[in-house]
């Protein structure tokens, strides 16, 4: 299949689901409170079950890819450090700073990365992508807390940080999934079946709910900030780090997994965090919305380029 067609077929179904969510919210079928409640169920139940399911089905051989893990960890730390240096020079307001930095380093690899890699590299590589997600999620948690310390003026105990990571349902889901995978334990069918059923609901529902958050509100006073974040998140950082990944020799499913992290737009959790932890929630919401919409074009372009040069 030619690269153009493929990129289109990978990206469109994802954005049709997001569009459906947007339509439902416009029709008044899916209101803000319900979306938030559903988001909570998605993140505390559906995604953890999905992560568990993806990992327990995979083998150690498929998922334990040290170079990919190291690259992704390096990427997250590097982009975090870079934005910590640059953003404070662009924006003066501490609340906005924290929203912007979160917007740059927190990506939506769960909702977008996993369907992309499934379509690109086949379901047998979902384990690898899930493992990458399992590595970056606690890292985001920890870095999110650092941001709170720096820009929120809050003092946070290390033990509290660790506790919040351990209690994160996604972390629990992946830990259990890895345990089952490593021990080779076979779940009984009557447990495996409902788990697989729930796992299938996570991404479609999450994309619908994500779409229901799309709202075109006041962007005037933060237009510059939104542009800065969206460009760095979706064009500058990917150009640099995908380039680096190619130079380092990552190809095929590995490169697709790396792309699933690097090219995804800002995660909805950036908005949730900003709400809970004194960031600028409106700015975060706008970053998520514009990033998500714009990523339809950029993800398409990235897949096309990488496919065209036969790198994935």
């Amino acid at each position: 299949m030619n690269a153009l067609n493929l990129s289109f077929e990978v990206v469109t179904p994802i954005f049709i689901l997001i569009g459906l969510g947007f339509a439902l919210s416009k029709l008044g079928l899916l209101r803000q409170e319900s979306s938030s409640a559903m988001l909570k169920i998605i993140f505390t139940v559906l995604f953890p079950v999905m992560v568990f399911n993806n990992l327990q089905r995979a083998t150690v051989m498929q998922t334990l890819n040290l170079p990919v893990m190291l690259f992704v960890i390096g990427y997250v730390l590097a982009i975090f450090a870079i934005s910590m240096i640059i953003i404070p020079r662009i924006e003066k307001d501490n609340r906005k700073r924290s929203s912007m930095i979160q917007g740059i380093f927190r990506n939506n690899s769960l909702m977008l990365g996993i369907p992309i890699i499934t379509a690109l590299a086949g379901p047998e590589n979902v384990g690898l992508m899930t493992m990458v997600v399992a590595v970056v999620v606690p890292l985001y948690n920890a870095l999110g807390v650092v941001i709170m310390e720096v820009f929120g003026g809050q003092r946070i105990k290390l033990s509290a940080v660790l506790l919040s990571i351990i209690k994160n349902p996604l972390v629990i889901g992946s830990a259990l999934g890895i345990a089952v995978m490593v021990t080779g334990f076979k779940l009984p069918y009557i447990i495996e079946k409902p788990i697989a059923d729930i796992a299938k609901t996570a991404i479609p529902l999450a994309l619908i709910v994500l779409g229901s958050f799309i709202k075109f509100g006041a962007i005037k006073d933060s237009r510059k900030d939104i542009i800065v974040v969206t460009l760095s998140r979706l064009i500058i950082a990917p150009a640099f780090f995908i380039g680096a990944a190619i130079l380092l020799g990552f190809r095929g499913a590995e490169l697709a997994a790396i792309m699933g992290v690097i090219c995804a737009p800002t995660a909805v959790s950036a908005f949730v965090m900003a709400q809970q932890m004194g960031g600028d929630a409106d700015l975060s919401a706008n970053i998520v919305v514009f990033g998500t919409l714009f990523s339809a074009a950029t993800i398409f372009a990235w897949i096309f380029v990488l496919k065209y040069f036969a790198l994935i």
């Binding site: 289109f8 077929e9 469109t12 179904p13 994802i14 049709i16 689901l17 459906l20 439902l24 079928l29 899916l30 209101r31 409170e33 319900s34 409640a37 559903m38 909570k40 169920i41 505390t44 139940v45 069918y189 009557i190 447990i191 079946k193 409902p194 059923d197 729930i198 299938k200 609901t201 991404i203 479609p204 529902l205 619908i208």
Partner: protein, 312 residues
Amino acid sequence: MKELLLSFEIVAPIFLLIFLGYFLKRIKLLSKSTIGTMNKILFNVLFPVLIFNSLYSATFEQAFNLRVIIFTISYLLIVFALAMIIIPRLEPQNAKKSVLIQGWFRGFTLLFGFPIVSDLCGPESTALLALVVALAVPLRNVLAVITLELYSDTKPSIRVMLKNIILNPLIIACAAGLAAMAFEFDMPTIIKKPMEDIAKVASPIALILLGGFFEFSKVKNNLKQILIGVLGRLVITPVIFMGAAILLGFAGIELASLLALCCVPIGTSTFVMSHQMGGDSELAVQLIVIGTIVSAVTIFLWIFALKQLALI
């Protein structure tokens, strides 16, 4: 022994998901208003897409089975007539009469049918079931309106009710699915893919929502009514009509679809309608909850019996 295990493996996952819903409600992750919203999305989007998908991907011969159509309609009309004759002799109160009569002829085929039939006969075999659902849903609604109308003082607008029945998204989806099937319309992948994703979401989410609906109230006062309702729905009418279906020579996918018609507990829409139209909604809830729990055993026994007789 093999059949015993197989029947268990079909029934247990269904009820685990229902239990998960109840659990999520108990830990307050699933609130009444969230359930309300998700139910709306379920009946307006997810189920219609599931119905459309089941029909669209089938051939005309698979879906259009005149014998099954005639059986479905006669079953509903006969059970309705029986209930109209018998129930008023057993129960003096009008508000309870109307709920009990509905309890006999209204099964939640839409919810239980798809997981049962696709597990019994394979996921490709739900087209006939979709047709049964498309017949049963409007007919059951019309009969329910007649019942409630007869036994309540509130006079609902029949025209509005009928309009709602005809404009039901499920009916529209069924018509569209049959049309797409008849004209062998081939949808592009970018539409097919998100529709398949949504179709996979419907049943697990519906089961979780049913569990979230569970409420345990004092059953002492309604003990007799519950017995009449549950026995009529899950034991007496199934024995008569599954017996008839077997004698008439139905087997395989046909019989599995009829099992989903005759042997499933009553659905949540009975509660909604009774609540709106002066039926005893407390009794409706009890029939739904207790019926669902009892059906874990009766559905299991039906599947086991039919398997043992090598009919499915």
